[in-house]
């Protein structure tokens, strides 16, 4: 009982801190980091619902992310439609796409499902490259100015600073966490877990497998699409590799794998590890650090080489992390923490 009260109090405190943060922390870089963190949490959490709870490991989530991002950006770029409306067009489209993908891919299992999910995302990526009139092809869509959202004459959001993005991102992250919690504590979640653990047994108990897999996919796809739209308008640029590429799908999964699949806090933990690490590489913090401690001189050949290339290598870090986590912590950080807790309890007894 006291534990629940303590937990809720801690949660409330974190929430209040997060809400108040932009008031006291005006550094755009710090806000940027927080926004990336929120984006990562919502991406990971969206995948978690289908991949973690229902056990359908889609490696094609870039499809939903990209559809959301592209729809919102295209509407905004071509017709100046405010993202607040464009987002819902993206969601509508993504439901259609998800159901089409679900009806194909859910007939398959295991590696065949994974392959099909990749193939579908690849078809979308290649289409985005080839449908030049619609998507501007490989060049992508650049839209730096976001039309302000007005009701009458009153401006509701102007998107001139990072602050509105911070709150939208925070809302998105909290929304995905809340939906995951709801799924986890509902009949739906138990059906998902039954399908994950033993599809045939679940079927023989009368669970409509295809229906529930598709429900899981649609929820997951809608949330991923929202994250995609958010990414699009925040960065102001989308092109086929950055929103529809295989790397995107892998990154989305990775958040869950590192944190722990099928747990409420796994994706949050995964984001807390991944976002700062990849940002440190991207912004060349590591090279600067090496220079600072005197290991590498800034204008030596190695120094220049690292500065020019290390920032592109954050994907290398993803690769190394995946391998390490799979080999040494197959249940992710959450599983690792739980194992430690159990061991401690045993030692205490």
């Amino acid at each position: 009982m006291t534990k629940t009260i303590l937990k809720s109090a801690a949660g409330l405190l974190v929430l209040v801190l997060l809400l108040a943060l932009p008031r006291y922390m005006q550094s755009p870089y710090a806000l940027h980091m927080m926004i990336l963190l929120f984006l990562s949490v919502s991406q990971g959490q969206s995948w978690n619902i289908l991949g973690g709870y229902a056990g359908q490991h889609s490696v094609g989530h870039a499809a939903y992310f990209g559809v959301g991002a592209y729809t919102t950006m295209m509407l905004m770029h071509t017709w100046q439609i405010v993202p607040w409306i464009g987002v819902w067009a993206g969601v509508g489209l993504v439901v259609v796409v998800a159901l089409a993908i679900g009806s194909i891919c859910f007939r398959l299992r295991g590696p065949y499902f994974v392959l099909a999910s990749i193939a579908v995302a690849e078809i979308l990526r290649l289409s985005a490259i080839n449908l030049t009139t619609l998507t501007n092809g490989a060049e992508g869509i650049l839209a730096t100015e976001i039309p302000a959202f007005k009701i009458g004459e009153r401006v509701v959001t102007d998107f001139l600073t990072k602050v509105p993005f911070y709150y939208i991102g925070l809302f998105l992250a909290l929304l995905t966490i809340a939906i995951t919690w709801l799924v986890q504590h509902s009949k739906l979640g138990y059906y998902f877990q039954a399908i994950r653990e033993d599809q045939d047994a679940a079927h023989s108990l009368g669970i409509h497998i295809a229906l529930y897999k598709n429900i899981g996919l649609v929820i997951s796809a809608i949330l991923t699409s929202l994250a995609g739209s958010f990414y699009g308008i925040y960065v102001g640029f989308v092109d086929p590799p950055t929103v529809l590429g295989l790397d995107v799908s892998v990154q989305i999964m990775l958040i869950c794998i590192i944190g722990g699949m099928g747990t409420l806090w796994g994706p949050v933990l995964g984001s807390l590890v991944l976002v700062p690490l990849s940002e440190a590489l991207r912004s060349n913090l590591i090279t600067e650090g090496l220079v600072k401690i005197g290991l590498v001189s800034a204008d030596s050949r190695i120094g220049i080489f690292l500065k020019e290339n290390l920032s592109h290598a954050h994907v290398l870090l993803y690769g190394i992390l995946v391998v390490l986590v799979i080999l040494f912590m197959p249940d992710g950080l959450m599983g690792f923490v739980k194992k430690l807790a159990v061991r401690r309890k045993r030692e205490a007894v």
């Binding site: 490991h57 490696v59 194909i104 007939r107 398959l108 299992r109 295991g110 590696p111 065949y112 994974v114 392959l115 099909a116 990749i118 193939a119 579908v120 690849e122 078809i123 290649l126 289409s127 490259i129 080839n130 295989l246 892998v250 999964m253 794998i257 290339n309 290390l310 592109h312 290598a313 994907v315 290398l316 993803y318 690769g319 190394i320 992390l321 995946v322 391998v323 799979i326 080999l327 197959p330």
Partner: protein
């Protein structure tokens, strides 16, 4: 008619190299039931190896196969022994993720060393062709690589059918437990199979390097292609992979001519989805769930 024949021939020739990539993947899947998502990246490593041998030592790409085949075999054996072996009994998604991770490490390490610039390997015969008549011509490097591919496939067939090790590999791929009970060193067979699979992928990389751009991310495209080929042929079937490779080669070159080169990969993936839906066991595979 000339256009049709032309694209058919180049489809078959490029299909031969695709077959080599597919055979490697199918061999690994057959013996270990592991889907190797790093397969294309292993091929990419083979391409860079060929590039290095050519630029530093001046060795012709087709001759360098003699060096890259054993080197890639060792590389594959190392990957199997240090990484894949540990996840053989793990759930499928962990195996998939591990190989995706290994692929990311390979492509990004290569990118760190060689940057992401496109490299072109120009030999004296890179753009030469042989006229066959009727307005149909054959690209010399593609023809040579097809002949080498055929020779390697034949040698592999002989190895799998006639030698003790080959038979042990096939036994392992039919029933891992039974093979182990019969005294076959299953672990060793896995290392050999992964080594062979990697050597074949690396060789395919060497063979197409005179006609393709070489860049760190080239593997991703080929990993997917290799899957399409093996699924089409039936996962685990060497004959199927050969057939699948040639079929994909023809499909690609036909759709490049009759639809557009931008959409040819889409055609291949749509074909792939159709096969998965209507004949998931592939052309030569037995149905297996």
């Amino acid at each position: 008619m000339a256009v049709f024949l032309q694209s058919l021939i180049s489809g078959i020739l490029i299909g031969g190299v695709y077959a080599l990539i597919g055979i490697g993947l199918t061999l690994i899947f057959g013996v270990m039931r592991v889907v190797n998502f790093a397969h294309g990246d292993i091929m990419m490593v083979g391409m860079y190896l060929t590039y290095l041998l050519f630029t530093i030592l001046g060795i012709d790409p087709f001759v360098s196969v003699l060096i890259s085949f054993p080197l890639m075999f060792l590389f594959g054996g190392f990957l199997q022994k240090t990484f894949i072996n540990r996840v053989l009994s793990a759930v499928a998604q962990n195996q998939i993720l591990l190989t995706i991770g290994l692929g990311l490490i390979m492509s990004n390490t290569v990118m760190l060393i060689f940057t992401s610039d496109y490299k072109i390997l120009t030999t004296s015969y890179s753009s030469s062709t042989i006229q066959v008549g009727g307005g149909v011509s054959i690209s010399t490097p593609l023809l040579i690589s097809f002949l080498i591919t055929a020779a390697i496939t034949a040698a592999l067939g002989w190895f799998l059918l006639k030698t003790d090790t080959g038979q042990a590999i096939r036994a392992t791929s039919q029933d891992r437990d039974a093979a182990q009970l019969m005294g076959i060193n299953v672990k060793r067979m896995s290392i050999i199979a992964f080594g062979l699979g990697s050597a074949l992928a690396g060789t395919a990389g060497a063979l197409i390097s005179p006609t393709y751009y070489i860049f760190p991310q080239v593997g991703g495209v080929f990993t997917l292609k290799a899957f399409v080929i093996t699924v089409l042929g039936g996962m685990g079937s060497v004959v199927g992979a050969t057939l699948g490779g040639v079929l994909i080669g023809i499909t690609e070159s036909m759709s490049a001519v009759y639809i557009s080169s931008g959409w040819k990969d889409v055609v291949v993936f749509v074909l792939f989805l159709l096969v998965l839906l209507f004949k998931p066991s592939g052309l030569m595979g037995k149905s297996r769930t």
